[in-house]
Amino acid sequence: MKKALYLGLAIITAMILVSASFASLIRIEPEWLPVVIIVLAFPVCILSLFLWWNASNIEGDFPFTGY
């Protein structure tokens, strides 16, 4: 279920990134808007792509918390 969500998110943000890049290329006004969209969408795209293809998502563990 989660894998499908991450894949969907990665595809949607990738489409947004390509559209924003194209908008930036043809210099639509205001010029800062596609850049802001890329800055916001790129981390989501990268992390959701990695979360989609990683081994698995399991419950958290307790790390070493000191002596």
Partner: protein, 280 residues
Amino acid sequence: MIFELIPAIFAGLLFHGIHRKVIARIQGRPGPPVWQEILHTLKFSFKQTWIPKTASMPMFVFIVAASIAIWTGAFALVISGGSLLLLFAIFMLHKITEHGLGLSSGSPYGKFGAIRSVMSAASEIPLFATIAGIYVVTGSLIISDITEYQAIHGPLIISAFPLAAAMYIVILSKMHYGPFSIIEAKEIVSGNRTEHFGVWRAGLEVAYALKTFVLLLAFVLLFIGALPWWLVFVIMLILLISLSFICAFTPMLSPFDAVAMQTVITGIIAVYIVVIGVIR
């Protein structure tokens, strides 16, 4: 922009690999292949991933996304020839993400790294001095104006060498295995990144690759000027190898010594700015 961003990330990861290779060869080790950091990032992205029970979950995840976002913004800023003040603001945000990265995990090692990141805020001061000095010399804080100034008056690395040296120290303080890399020192495991593994670490590798690429590119544009892209890349590589030499030969300073040294450098640059300000 995305079509420049992806190659920049791969170039940044390649630079990290070359950095490790040069350090290893100087220290008489064979070292990893230069593309190791690319494989490293891919490896982390395939690893099993979870959020530690002791972590602050929203911050633990958000801080990775924020790190990628701010260096994506910095990349856009530098390639579009934007304002140096915004680059300084991005540096400040980076300092906050470094701090948040360590605190969010709940691990004592991460917290030590976070505390050291606050202590080493002095590493950002030479950048402030550089920006002030560039304004005094060129009369502008816009990167495209500064490259135009250099096209007429020659590279700033010659006419304002102390400013270039200060910026060099800023880049050095952000390099892995450097004398100022107290945040991720091995006596505190991986410092503020200790608990960020798997996908989270892969995300951080992407952000830090962009950071290295942006800083080297900014140095070339600010102190050498606008050149053909392949020549910019070659100069970035030479700059990186010089940094690798310093990292290979210099032991990691203690936190107090690191802060003291960066403060002294800033003081020297401040005196230089006052002198050139008076002369002009």
